[in-house]
Amino acid sequence: MTTLQMKNLSLTLVLATCLAACGNEPPPQDKLTLENGVDSAIQAERMKKTKSIFYNIPSPMETAGLLKKAGAKYNKTILNDVKNVDKYTSAGQQALNLGIYGADLSYTSVFNHTQESMFYTSCSRKLADRLGVISAFNDSTLELMQSNLNDRDALLDIVSETYWNVDAYLKENGRDNISALMIAGGWVEGLYIATQISKINDTPELRQRIAEQRISLNDLSNLINSYELEDARLTSVKADIASLQAIFAEVASGAPGTATSEENGVPVIGTGGTAATLTDAQLIKIRDRTAEIRTTYIN
């Protein structure tokens, strides 16, 4: 056996191990409730209303980076179990958990736990396949990650690009509601990770970052509420978001500064503001409600 053949064999074995680690064959699926059957008039009206307005929800990678900077520690026990992947049979569940596994993947990658990153990539790929997002994930994505396991920056770039490909593919193909569910799942998982970490690694910076999620929660709410479709999963997610907004409404959100200064030639916008803060009781409320919501998504 040549060196090249051995290399290919070992790569195949690693990929097979990753796929096997991420659950077995999926059970028969529920009917996929995708967008194709939607009344075209409703869809055209929605497109007309939202065509030019975007809500930029912080990506899982950005959130994981903020957590790391805030002093958060890595804890793999709080992530969604990779074995759960085969439980997700409806399109809504698959979209939410694609977001959740995507956030877990970003968390493991940012904290440089590459083996777990491979497992979560496999799970994400399985769900993307089942949602019909065939072009965003392929064998070469896994192979590329495998060959860059020791290059954290390259790994993060691959993860970022894959997330972007999935999101863009869904939006381009008129499946914005699936994209919105994926974004919602990722956002909830990010908040879940942050609040769970705060149990054992409670820092003022981490609390501030959790409190600041009030802003992106409002953007997420606007995004989800831009869909008027009769979609049971979107409706329940809307209610979940509204319940979190009610809790966040009590949080001291701080005030952006109004002054501008300069640092190394780069303008610093909004200096002199006050930071958002969380009381113990508010943190517990947010943590508990987020955990309840997340439990309904992953089970």
């Binding site: 307005i53 912080p58 997330y163 972007w164 999101d167 381009e172 802003i215 952006p256 006050t274 958002a276």
Partner: protein, 147 residues
């Protein structure tokens, strides 16, 4: 028979529309990925795909959150067929933080957030003047951040 034909024709038209839309959007993604994202370096792309096909006179806006202490690059990238566009970054009170006009265009703006705040990028395509040709082109609004 008439109903079957009408339904078939409608289905074909709808399919053609969806296919065309998907193709045009895919071209927009490909344009943003190949021509715009590389210019975000050394900032890391935040993974959000905000791109639209705009015609002269049309407008797009993106709501953003900037986190205190983080450094960002905001970029507006336009397909050459559309020409230069106007864009501005405004804060929660609609105060202009940065503005670029088509006659003196700047395609990106770097900033550091002094405090966490919600802002908005507004892009508008200048009207085409007297020309009867209407060009529709891809406009991508991208954000990069420093890890």
């Amino acid at each position: 028979m008439y109903n079957v034909r009408t339904t078939l024709a409608k289905t074909l038209l709808a399919s053609a529309f969806l296919l065309t839309t998907a193709l045009v959007n895919a071209q927009c993604r490909s344009f943003a990925k190949n021509k715009c994202v590389p210019d975000l370096a050394p900032y890391k792309f935040n993974e959000s795909f905000n791109a639209a096909q705009l015609a002269p006179g049309e407008e797009a806006e993106v709501n953003l959150t900037f986190y205190s202490g983080q450094e960002y690059r905001v970029m507006v990238c336009t397909h050459p067929i559309l020409g230069e566009v106007n864009w501005k970054l405004v804060d929660e009170n609609n105060k202009i933080v940065f503005e670029s006009l088509a006659d003196n265009p700047k395609h990106s703006f770097d900033l550091k957030a002094g405090s966490t705040s919600a802002m908005k990028v507004v892009v508008w395509v200048p009207s085409g003047g007297n020309t009867s040709m209407v060009h529709v082109g891809c406009v991508a609004i991208l954000v990069g951040f420093k890890e």
